[in-house]
């Protein structure tokens, strides 16, 4: 996730890329074909969500996955904004981790995604 100024707010890779490759990917903020990858992006207010995929991926499905992620965050934070993600980076990570693993979708039900976080919050 990168904001309007191009600052990264959350990064998680499922294929190891070195720093240079990561920078090149993260700093291109348009719907682009980049070498053998594609970057699928979506903008929410000032935040851009970028997902890099290979050619074997269904682009629209990825686009809607981004929206599912945003809706999930919204359900948890309520009116989610950039600051929620910045200051609760760990929670954003927890959610993403429930949704994606090894580059594949694990879970698409919001309540299942959020249940571990809610458990933790209850415990603390």
């Amino acid at each position: 996730m990168v904001n309007k100024q191009g600052q990264t707010r959350l990064a998680q890779y499922y294929e190891y890329l070195n720093l240079e490759e990561r920078r090149a990917l993260e700093e291109q903020c348009s719907f682009v074909e980049h070498r053998n990858y594609k970057v699928v992006y979506r903008r929410y207010a000032s935040l851009f969500f970028l997902v890099g995929v290979d050619n074997e991926e269904n682009e629209l499905a990825i686009l809607e996955f981004i929206h599912l992620l945003v809706e999930t965050m919204d359900r948890h934070f309520g009116n989610v904004c950039e600051l929620d993600i910045m200051f609760h980076l760990e929670k954003a990570h927890f959610m993403l981790e429930e949704m994606v693993m090894n580059g594949c979708l694990v879970e698409t039900s919001k309540s299942s995604i959020l249940s571990p976080i809610q458990l933790m919050e209850k415990a603390s």
Binding site: Y14, R35, N36, N55, H67, L89, M101, N102, T108
Partner: protein, 974 residues
């Protein structure tokens, strides 16, 4: 010590810093040690941060392996989830070997909750990718089928991803799962039988639908009529029932499913009616306002071109596609360009190429190179007449000279030289362009060349006297770079020769220019000036020496090769290749393929540098050709600085990467002898690259060392008086682990050591850090990871440089990560071989070619060569003792394990020719493997780099087909 809270806080901060793009090389240990914490919050942080910061090769990961295993086999579900996720994200081979059985157990356990099982599925997927042996095929197909019956949507989604990976590798083992996939689709798309929270804007999990249809595309066909009927019912429902709605999310999700359904329909080769339904839908999509849909419409139309016979229907949309070429979104423009390129044929070439040319002046810079290359290729392939072709290329140079590579104008020169009818026309056109106030340097080159050769054909036209031609060309001289001056000098000499009767005034002007450049600092220019000056004083003798260029031998277009190599997405790349194979017959054919005057064919353009004074007897003209052309590429004093490694790879293209340009896939009878007449391009090519920059001479022959390393896994790659570069490699399926050993042979350090890998697009390569200094007498080891993405013969290059004292040494070395390294020899029995051989019935999966001009070798030698290439020769399979049959398994990420079968039929009477048939389940692989074997058979080792060109070998001329009647031989085998 720190409190647990502080530990967590600092570790998160580290991750934050790393995320912002800074290299965090500290604190990794802290993150890893949190994994062993007893409490969930710390443990969780440890797992997440570790999997973000480290990669699978990191040493610290080994420290955690025991804790991770204990968490996986332990009873705490939440710990299990964390550990499975870490392994699923970054687990390497070691994890695969030690954890796979535990993970499998969790996945199929009935006592385990879905929450753990869904993670186990994707964890197993990772382990399987690291080591395919962890999933035993026999036992797994049944279990996989059971998993696809799963009711829990999370487990089903994850299992489907695992299934896609398994089935993409080996669909044979999973036929029993096919009906299950159709059931899943029916459950989702027809019955809408899913819990409410798994519907997304009213659509039952679009992601699972997409994944399931993707899985089905890995089966070649659906045979069972009932299953097929159910599947098509669902697909028909999706195709017809998807409407455009206002809600953008719903719209996207339903179209995600729709596009996947389209892909599946195309794959299944549905009835014509359904196919035209698909094209109609796509035609609708490319005209809508929504850019995403338009983009995907164009992309899928391009794919459709490859699979189905729908070209005529697609052509109806040509106008709309041309509109998309001017879309504000660059991604859409690129797709439109690809589609136009793909759909071009003789009937619409004129329209499309003219459209591309028009667009060229306004296109953004990022696209101009691709655009001009594509326009040039289409013009060459589908030209209705040659003068149109010349027009197009000259316009290209005029409008986008910076983006027109030398290959393109060399090609025009070849065509003009070989077609006499074209010569006056080309000369006239070139003359017209010279009247323009500012022209690109490439235009100066091409028009100077053409006018030098053929301007005398224009002599009676106004403005075309030798003097006028000379003065308009000479006006350009002050504006051009040193690489163009030699061409102008040659042109002046030719003009002088053609001026009959001699014009004293012109002669003295040109002689003044020659004597001015006789002291030029550039050796090439100086040499030409001196030689032309001396020659032109000889009067009549000049006529013989500067006679018209002989015709070029026909060769494969370097442009098409270049297009294949150029950076492009993989699907598109293979589309180009396939089309190139199918349509090569449409390429322009040069009228007379035999060189004029019995002059032997000139060897490879640009590689041979022959000093002009060394001509002894016969064909001076030939040497002038070699000289003129050779000079252009070699004596470029300032090689252009290229920012992207791919471009650099292209520059190296004809020199180092593409070792055997002489062998074109087409079966031109002149081709064999043309190649043999030249020297081995490898040895010369590398020598000429080095001559420019290095004063340090390598020890031993670089090309030979490379060849040797292609056959073995350790040895010396390069050596000179200061350094020795050794290489050691281990190959396993589509992975390679190489280590470069950089040894300093001296008692002083080597400084400014730099190693840069220029990988071809099919290899993913990662070189660990190379130290800047190598201490005296020390050896440094640099691991290099290689992943093979898809079959290709392209070769990676190591750009290596160092400084010793004041010597700056730079060498470009090909790396032996070649096609055969990804082979695993396999012996097949007759029962396995023949059904497979028959099922791969013809092109593009099975290709056959008669190869001539081989270096003669005995059958036993050939068997040894094949075995050393990891192509396992299976004796006894072919009843004919002169034939051999070999098999191997090829591994790459796209093909997974793929069985390859090869049959060679030799002719005992003529060892320089044979017929070869190659088959595999992947068209690209088949083609690449065929070309690869051919290269190995034709390769002529050169003892030393000073080797002189060998005379063409005399071969028996009996028609090979009489000996090798294909029908009879095939019948003998089957």
């Amino acid at each position: 010590g720190l409190t647990p809270y502080e530990k967590k806080k600092y570790v998160w901060k580290m991750l934050y810093i790393y995320m912002l793009g800074y290299d965090v090389d500290f604190g990794h240990m802290e993150a890893v040690s949190l994994i062993s914490a007893p409490k969930y919050p710390e443990k969780q942080v440890g797992y997440i941060v570790t999997s973000s910061l480290l990669n699978e090769n990191h040493d610290f990961l080994r420290l955690a392996i025991n804790t991770v295993r204990n968490d996986i086999i332990g009873r705490n579900e939440t710990f299990q989830c964390l550990a499975l996720t870490l392994v699923g994200n970054i687990g390497g081979r070691e994890f695969a070997e030690s954890l796979a059985p535990d993970v499998q157990k969790l996945l199929i356990s009935s006592s385990c909750r879905p929450l753990v099982r869904k993670k186990a599925a994707l964890c197993l997927l990772r382990l399987y990718r690291k080591n395919p042996d962890v999933v035993n095929v026999d036992g797994w197909s049944d279990r996989m089928a059971q998993l696809l019956d799963e009711r829990d949507m999370g487990v089903l989604t994850s299992s489907m991803s695992l299934f896609v990976a398994l089935v993409s590798n080996n669909h044979e083992a999973y036929w029993s799962c096919l009906p299950k996939c159709v059931k899943v689709l029916e459950r989702l798309a027809r019955n809408q039988d899913v819990p409410q929270e798994y519907t997304y804007y009213g659509i039952p999990s679009p992601w699972l639908q997409v994944k399931t249809m993707r899985a089905l595309q890995y089966f070649p066909t659906v045979e069972d009529p009932n299953t097929r009927r159910s599947l098509f019912e669902v697909l028909q429902r999706v195709l017809m029932g998807t409407d455009v709605v206002k809600n953008v999310n719903k719209n996207n999700a339903s179209h995600a499913v729709l596009f996947e359904a389209l892909a599946l329909v195309m794959h299944l080769d549905a009835e014509k009616e359904m196919m035209s339904q698909c094209v109609a839908l796509l035609g609708k999509f490319i005209a809508v306002r929504e850019p995403n849909i338009r983009y995907l419409g164009l992309e899928n139309m391009t794919r459709m071109l490859m699979v189905a016979d729908v070209q005529d229907i697609i052509k109806r949309h040509q106008a709309q596609i041309i509109t998309s070429l001017k879309d504000p979104d660059i991604s859409i423009r690129r797709r439109a360009l690809d589609l136009l390129y793909g759909m071009c044929d003789v009937s619409n070439a004129k329209d499309i190429v003219e459209e591309l040319l028009q667009y060229l002046s306004t296109a953004d810079f990022a696209m101009r190179e691709e655009l001009s290359l594509k326009a040039a290729i289409l013009a060459e392939k589908f030209a209705p007449d040659l003068s149109w072709y010349v027009d197009v290329i000259l316009q290209l140079i005029d409008k986008a000279g910076d983006f027109v590579s030398d290959d393109i104008w060399f090609r025009v020169v070849q065509f003009v030289t070989n077609n006499e009818d074209l010569q006056p026309y080309a000369a006239m056109k070139a003359r017209e362009y010279l009247d323009k106030p500012a022209i690109h340097e490439t235009m100066v080159k091409v028009s100077a060349y053409i006018l030098g050769e053929y301007s005398h054909l224009l002599a009676r036209r106004p403005g075309c006297s030798p003097k006028e031609i000379f003065s308009i060309l000479h006006e350009k001289l002050p504006t051009v770079s040193t690489s163009t001056i030699p061409i102008l000098l040659s042109t002046y000499a030719k003009i002088l020769m053609h001026t009959q009767p001699p014009d004293q005034d012109l002669q003295s002007q040109i002689w003044t220019i020659f004597s001015k450049y006789e002291s030029c600092i550039d050796a090439e220019i100086q040499q030409r000036a001196v030689e032309y000056h001396a020659l032109s004083m000889k009067g009549a003798a000049l006529m013989d020496i500067l006679a018209e260029m002989p015709k070029f031998p026909e060769r494969q277009s370097p442009l098409i090769k270049k297009a294949e190599d150029s950076e492009a997405d993989t699907a598109e790349q293979s589309a180009i290749k396939l089309r190139a194979q199918q349509q090569s017959s449409n390429a322009l054919v040069v009228t007379d393929q035999r060189p004029a005057n019995g002059t032997p064919p000139v060897s490879q353009l640009g590689l041979v540098k022959v000093p002009i004074m060394s001509n002894e007897d016969q064909s001076t003209a030939e040497q002038v050709v070699a000289h003129t052309n050779g000079a252009l590429t070699i004596v470029d004093p300032q090689p252009p600085i290229t920012p992207s490694p791919d471009l650099l790879g292209d520059l190296l293209g004809p020199l180092a990467i593409e070792g055997h340009t002489g062998i074109a896939p087409q079966s031109d009878p002149n081709m064999g002898s043309g190649f043999e007449g030249g020297t081995n391009p490898d040895a010369l090519a590398i020598a000429s690259v080095e001559e420019q920059t290095n004063t340090v001479q390598p020890i031993g022959n670089i090309a030979e060392r490379f060849q040797a390393l292609c056959l073995k896994d350790s040895g010396v790659l390069y050596e000179d008086p200061y350094i020795q570069i050794g290489i050691k490699a281990e190959w396993r399926v589509h992975h390679g682990q190489l280590v470069l050993f950089l040894g300093n042979k001296n008692i002083a350090p080597l400084n400014s050591v730099q190693a840069l890998i220029l990988p071809p697009s099919h290899l993913k390569m990662e070189l660990s850090l190379v130290p800047e200094t190598i201490p005296p007498r020390a050896q440094v080891q640099c691991p290099l990871e290689v992943i093979n993405l898809q079959p290709s013969r392209d070769v990676a290059v190591l750009d290596f440089s160092y400084k010793f004292g004041t010597h700056m040494v730079n060498v470009k070395l090909r790396l032996p990560a070649v096609l055969n390294k990804f082979f695993q020899p396999i012996t097949v029995t007759a029962e396995e071989f023949f059904p497979q051989w028959r099922s791969l019935s013809g092109p593009p999966l099975k290709l056959q070619e008669v190869v001539r001009g081989l270096r003669p070798m005995l059958l036993a030698e050939m068997v040894a060569l094949f075995n050393s290439l990891r192509l396992m020769v299976c004796p006894g399979l072919d009843p004919n003792a002169n034939n051999l049959v070999a098999s191997t398994t090829f591994y790459s990420e796209s093909t997974r394990a793929m069985l390859c079968l090869i049959r060679i039929e030799t002719d005992p009477a003529d060892r320089t020719q044979l017929r070869m048939t190659v088959a595999s389940g992947d068209p690209t692989l088949t083609y690449e493997l065929k070309e690869f074997i051919k290269e190995q058979l034709v390769y002529i080792p050169v003892p030393s780099r000073s080797a002189a060109p060998m005379p063409p070998q005399v071969r028996p001329t009996s028609p090979p087909n009489a000996v090798l009647d294909p029908g009879a031989l095939l019948a003998g085998l089957l």
